[in-house]
C-alpha cells in the first residue's frame, strides 16, 4: 500500500463519525437520491447515483466499524479499497457532485449525503485523488490568500474604481463598524458592480461597514477540495479580522459555498462559537428593507426569474428574502418550476466550475436549467451567487439562449432612491 493511499484511508476512518455510520447503516437502497441528482437526472447514468459515489467510504466503514465487515476482513473475504479504485472514483466525487444537497433533501431516512461527500473528499484529497485545478486553487488560497490569486492591491484598485464611480468612500479597517464585508474572488475580478452596489445601498441605509485587508476573501477552497485543516486556516483569517475590528456581523457575499463555509462550517472548524453573527448579503438587505432603510423607486418592467443558489437556499435557508426584495423592484417576476429549496443547481458548485475536466459534463447537465428558464419565457435571470452567474452565462451561451444574468444586489442598486 502506498503512503498516500494509507493517508487517504486513514482520513476515511477519521471522518466516519456517528452521523456517517448511522447514515450508511440506515440506507434502504431506495434510489430516490438518484432521481434527485442533477447529474443522474440529465445523463441517466447509474454511476451518478449519489450513494454510489460514496462506495469506497462505505466499504471502509463496513470493514472497520461493523462486526460482519471486521470478520470478513479477518478472513480475507472483503475487497480492500485500492488506489486504482480511488482514481476511478475521483470524477464521481468531484466532477459530478456540486454538493447541492438535493439528494439529502429527498432521502426518506434523512441521510445527509452531501455531508458524506464533503467528508469523503477529505480522504480523496489526502490520498492525492483531487482534481489538479482544485489543488492549485487551494494552494493559492493558502499561500496568497485567494484561490484565484487576488492580492489586496487588486482590491485597492477596485475600491479606487468604485469610489470614482460612486463618489462614495469605501471604508477599510474601520474599528467598531457594524459589518465586515467579505467578497469572493469572482466579484473582485469579474463583477466590480457588486462592491459599487453595496457602497450605494449602505450609504443610503446609513450602515456602518468595513472591508479588511487581511480578510477580504470569502471563498473557501478547503471546503471544496475536502481539507479541513486548510478550510480552518481560511476561516480563521476572517475570525481574526472580525475580532480585531470588533464588528457585530460578517456579511457573506453573493457566493454560495462561501456562505456554507463561514456560516455553517465555520464555528465547527474553529471548535467554538463565533463572537459575531454571520449573514448572507440578501439577509442583510432584507432586514434593511424591513426596517424601511432600503428605499427603491420604480420597477423593472422586464419579465424576470430568480435562480436560487443551492448553498444559499437549500443548504442556507435564504429563500423568502430574495423574493421579498424582488417584489420591490420587479414588475413581472416569474418563478421557475422547482424554485426555492428544490431548485436545480447551476451545475458548477462544489468546485465543479474550477475543474476544467468537468466542463463537458457541466454543460451537458445544464439542460435542466435551460428547461427551467424556457418554461418561464423570460430573458432576464437574477441570482445571488457569482459562481452560478458565470456558470449560467456559459450554459446560456452554449445553448444559444438570449438571457441576461444579473446579481440581485446589483439589480436593487439600480432602483435605489439616492441623493434625497
Amino acid at each position: 500500500m502506498s503512503a498516500t493511499l494509507e493517508k487517504g484511508l486513514n482520513a476515511f476512518k477519521e471522518v466516519i463519525d456517528t452521523p456517517i455510520a448511522s447514515y450508511f447503516s440506515s440506507c434502504v437502497h431506495c434510489g430516490l437520491c438518484a432521481e434527485a441528482c442533477l447529474f443522474y437526472n440529465e445523463t441517466g447514468d447509474p454511476k451518478y447515483t449519489p450513494i454510489h459515489k460514496l462506495e469506497p467510504l462505505r466499504r471502509v466503514w463496513k470493514q472497520e466499524y461493523t462486526l460482519l465487515g471486521k470478520l470478513g476482513k479477518m478472513l480475507g473475504l472483503s475487497k480492500p479499497v485500492t488506489d486504482e479504485e480511488l482514481t476511478e472514483w475521483e470524477p464521481l466525487v468531484y466532477d459530478s457532485c456540486s454538493m447541492c444537497g438535493r439528494c439529502s433533501l429527498v432521502c426518506p431516512v434523512g441521510n445527509d449525503i452531501t455531508y458524506m461527500i464533503r467528508k469523503m473528499r477529505e480522504g480523496m484529497s489526502a490520498s492525492g485523488h483531487a482534481p489538479e485545478d482544485m489543488k492549485g486553487a487551494t494552494k493559492r488560497a493558502i499561500e496568497i490568500g485567494s484561490p484565484m490569486g487576488i492580492k489586496w492591491p487588486a482590491v485597492q484598485a477596485q475600491i479606487k474604481h468604485v469610489q470614482a464611480e460612486t463618489d462614495i468612500e469605501v471604508p477599510v479597517d474601520k474599528q467598531g463598524a457594524d459589518y465586515l464585508v467579505l467578497m469572493s474572488s469572482m466579484e473582485i475580478i469579474n463583477f466590480p458592480e457588486y462592491l459599487s452596489a453595496i457602497s450605494r445601498i449602505f450609504k443610503q441605509a446609513g450602515v456602518s461597514w468595513t472591508l479588511a485587508p487581511d480578510a477580504f476573501e470569502a471563498t473557501n477552497s478547503g471546503i471544496q477540495i475536502g481539507a479541513s485543516d486548510l478550510a480552518r486556516e481560511i476561516v480563521s483569517r476572517i475570525v481574526v479580522a472580525a475580532e480585531r475590528l470588533k464588528v457585530k456581523c460578517v456579511i457573506s457575499p453573493e457566493c454560495g459555498h462561501a456562505f456554507t463555509a463561514i456560516r455553517w462550517e465555520g464555528p465547527n472548524l474553529m471548535g467554538k462559537p463565533f463572537g459575531f453573527e454571520v449573514k448572507h448579503i440578501l439577509e442583510v438587505l432584507d432586514e434593511l428593507h424591513a426596517a424601511g432603510k432600503l428605499k427603491t423607486r420604480g420597477k423593472d418592467k422586464r419579465p424576470l426569474t430568480y435562480h436560487d443558489p443551492c448553498q444559499i437556499a437549500r443548504r442556507g435557508g435564504v429563500v423568502e428574502q430574495p423574493r421579498r426584495l424582488l417584489g420591490e423592484v420587479a414588475e413581472d417576476f416569474r418563478e421557475m418550476p422547482d424554485a426555492g429549496v428544490m431548485n436545480w443547481c447551476c451545475g458548477g458548485g462544489g468546485g465543479v466550475s474550477a475543474n476544467s475536466r468537468a466542463e463537458p459534463l457541466r454543460l451537458e447537465v445544464f439542460k435542466v436549467k435551460k428547461r427551467q428558464i424556457e418554461s418561464t419565457g423570460v430573458h432576464t435571470l437574477i441570482t445571488a451567487c457569482a459562481n452560478c452567474r458565470i456558470v449560467m452565462e456559459e450554459g446560456l451561451e452554449h445553448y444559444h439562449m438570449k438571457v441576461e444574468v444579473l446579481g440581485l444586489t446589483e439589480l436593487l442598486a439600480e432602483y435605489l432612491v439616492e441623493g434625497e
Binding site: A137, M148, G149, H161, M186, I189, P192
Partner: protein, 145 residues
Amino acid sequence: MTITNDSEFKAAIAKLTKAGQRQVGARFAESVLALCKDARVKHAIATAMRADITEEELAAALDSAKKASVDSFTLCGKECDWNSQAGHFVAEAALACLKSGTTPAWDAAMHARMARTSESIATGVGTDNAEAAVQYRILAEFMKD
C-alpha cells in the same frame, strides 16, 4: 465644451440620444481596445460606432460582443491573469454600449475604466487610472461634432 469631473460627464451623457450613447460608448471601448486581442470585440466596436447601423447589424454585433465577454470571464478557482481580464472588460464595454440599457455610454465608460484598472494591476505600476480624463475628452469631442 469642457468636462472635468464625473458629474459633468454623467450630465453630458444624459443629454445624448440612445444612438449617440451607443456611438460614444463605442469610442470609450475603442480607447482601451489595445488591451483586447479578440477580433469579435474589435468588429463589434467598429459596428457600434457607425451612425447608419441597421437593427440586424446591431443584433449581430451584440451577439458577437456577448460571446467574447462570456468566453473571457475568469472562472471560479482559476488563477486570474489580469491582462486577459483587461481584455474581458473591453468586451464588456463593447457589450454595454450595444445593450438596450438605460445608460449604455456610462456603463461602457465604467467597463473601459476597469480594463485600465486591470492593466494597472497586471503591470503592478500602481492604481492610477487616467482613463476618466481620456473619456471626458472623447465625450467633449463627440458632442462638438
